[in-house]
């Protein structure tokens, strides 16, 4: 599998006989930055969980390269805000998969956790309780936790859902930096403008998957995915519209879709 990290082969999954994903094929390679978009209930999160191995597909195969460690940054709303835990303990959790049951975290684990905190610029907050952090800071801690496992691939579920505009921008910049350091990134997002700025490949999910090995979103893709006709930002030539935005334009174009 040379530089292919994850390969999904004809994957279908249904819950209570309702089909959520159908015949999905997807190959993610080393260094990719994949944005998963699609309507609510279209199966974005499901796809992410299939890649992670959290959900078993009804039919089809999921192949993961042997040396590929996956880092997961769940959607924020999932855990309790006032849980009695410090930032440091949360980040150490990322080492769980690397540490056998019964064994305590050792110095290597602590070093990795420290590095991960540094990568997201959160070292000064090490001893803070998680509930005392802002939305953006908390999201950084979650990214640090995923990074502590030294993953080859980082999977994020709507990383900016609870984060204000400026911090969302910082977060994407951080992801871009990580991606430049050869961490493969797969991200579910509603944020089309961010997708078009930062992402290299686009996967549109609405039960079925349309995969584009470039960051250009076409109207055909969107129409097929969202099931209604689209006019992309009203610029006239559909195929060009979401392309070639500069990164500093980001917050101006925040209200699309």
């Amino acid at each position: 599998m040379n530089n292919e990290l994850v390969k999904l082969n004809q994957i279908s999954i249904s819950f209570d006989k309702i089909c959520v994903l159908k015949d999905v094929n997807l190959t993610i390679k080393q260094g990719d930055f994949v944005g998963i978009i699609g309507p609510n209930g279209g199966g974005k999160t499901t796809l992410l969980k299939v890649i992670l191995g959290l959900l078993k597909p009804t039919t089809g195969k999921r192949l993961v390269a042997g040396n590929c460690i996956l880092g997961y940054v769940p959607q924020y709303s999932q855990f309790e805000r006032d849980f009695p835990i410090r930032v440091w303990d949360v980040v150490l959790m990322g080492r769980l998969g690397r540490r056998m049951i019964f064994k305590r975290y050792d110095n290597t684990d602590r070093k990795m956790a420290e590095d991960a905190l540094e990568a997201v610029d959160m070292v000064p907050f090490k001893n803070y309780q998680v509930s005392k952090l802002s939305g953006g800071q908390r999201q950084r801690v979650m990214i640090a936790r995923a990074l502590a496992a030294q993953p080859k691939m980082l999977l994020l579920d709507e990383p900016t859902a609870n984060v204000d505009c400026q911090h969302g921008y910082d977060l994407y910049e951080l992801l871009k930096k990580l991606n430049d350091e050869r961490v493969t990134i797969v991200m579910v997002s509603h944020d089309m403008s961010a997708i078009s700025t930062y992402v290299k490949q686009i996967a549109c999910v609405n039960k079925t998957l349309f995969y584009h090995d470039s960051k250009e979103i076409t109207t055909e893709m969107l129409e097929a995915t969202y099931g209604c006709s689209f006019e992309l930002l009203g610029h006239g030539i559909p195929h060009r519209v979401l392309k070639k935005h500069k990164e500093n334009e980001w917050d101006v174009r925040n209200s699309t879709l």
């Binding site: 769980l96 049951i101 019964f102």
Partner: protein, 287 residues
């Protein structure tokens, strides 16, 4: 106050309170942070079936309670995973089925059950040495398991899904936690009884979580609080000749209300600093 410890039954009662506090300080902390107090209520009431069975078979009801408690814990985990029933529905069913079975077993047992009330509401003054031994062994087991699985349980309580993504066997861990709850309930039955178990399990950790945000320290403070409540409750019940289990729960409950209604007073801040001093925790101001 010390002269009451001259009586052997008082010594036993006090030791029982201390032993129960250790188990419920540790496991109660998980129950509170994972928000599964309803589950612990279900398990403790289901254990009543075991007490009835113990009477019926003529064995120690505590052993029956332990078997029933663990069985209902595992059963709960399996039923709510295999069927599409909501967990709280399953808990409600197990809760009342355990009680119903207990009543049928006791009805079928010839003669009458003299100390049935003591299992329902606790009678710390009647704890035999044998049960103290059993409580000590259970405490030891719970302590060893919590120590071995500390980091897994912490991660599991905080973020189950992430745990699963990291390859931690989440489901067995969940069953293990439920079993630990049932063992804790068994140690508590003698002290406060099945019906009152929940209060002693939940109140100490819900007070201690205001003083620390470290799970291990939260456990230690909860144990200390539990010991204080049982000791004070026992002494008061002796002084006023009131049922010990109920007095212990009232002491705990009043403390809970006190701590809940005096938020951020100078007293609380001072206490926080004091505890922080002992646990070595630096307090960052509340932003």
């Amino acid at each position: 106050m010390l002269e009451i410890l001259h009586y052997e039954f008082m010594q036993n009662a006090w030791v029982a309170g201390i032993l129960a506090s250790i188990a419920c300080g540790m496991i109660g902390t998980y129950v509170v942070v994972k928000r599964i107090s309803f589950i612990s209520g279900g398990i403790s009431h289901a254990a009543f079936g075991g007490i009835g069975l113990g009477y019926f078979l003529g064995i120690n009801p505590m052993i029956g309670a332990m078997v029933f408690g663990v069985a209902s814990a595992v059963g709960l985990g399996i039923i709510s995973k295999r069927t599409h029933q909501h967990e709280e529905t399953v808990i409600g069913v197990l809760w009342s089925m355990g009680m119903a079975l207990g009543i049928i077993f006791i009805y079928l047992t010839p003669g009458y059950a003299p100390d049935l009330m003591s299992y329902l509401f606790g009678d710390i003054l009647m704890v035999p040495r044998m049960d103290l031994m059993m409580m000590a062994i259970l405490d030891g087991m719970i302590m060893v398991i919590v120590f071995l699985f500390y980091k897994e349980f912490l991660a599991f309580c905080f973020d189950e899904e992430f745990c699963a993504a990291m390859g931690v066997p989440v489901y067995p861990l969940y069953l293990l936690l439920l079993c630990l709850i049932s063992l804790t309930v068994v140690t508590l039955i003698r002290v406060v009884g099945i019906i009152l178990v929940m209060a002693l399990l939940i109140i100490p950790p819900s007070i201690s979580r205001r003083f620390t945000h470290h799970l291990g320290k939260m456990m230690c403070i909860s144990i200390a609080l539990g010991m204080a409540f049982t000791t004070l409750g026992l002494w008061l019940s002796y002084q006023f000749s009131l049922p010990s289990g109920a007095v212990i729960i009232l002491v705990a409950g009043i403390n809970f209300l006190l701590f809940a209604f005096i938020p951020k007073t100078i007293f609380l801040v001072k206490l926080k600093c004091l505890i922080g001093h002992f646990t070595g925790e630096a307090y960052l101001d509340e932003k």
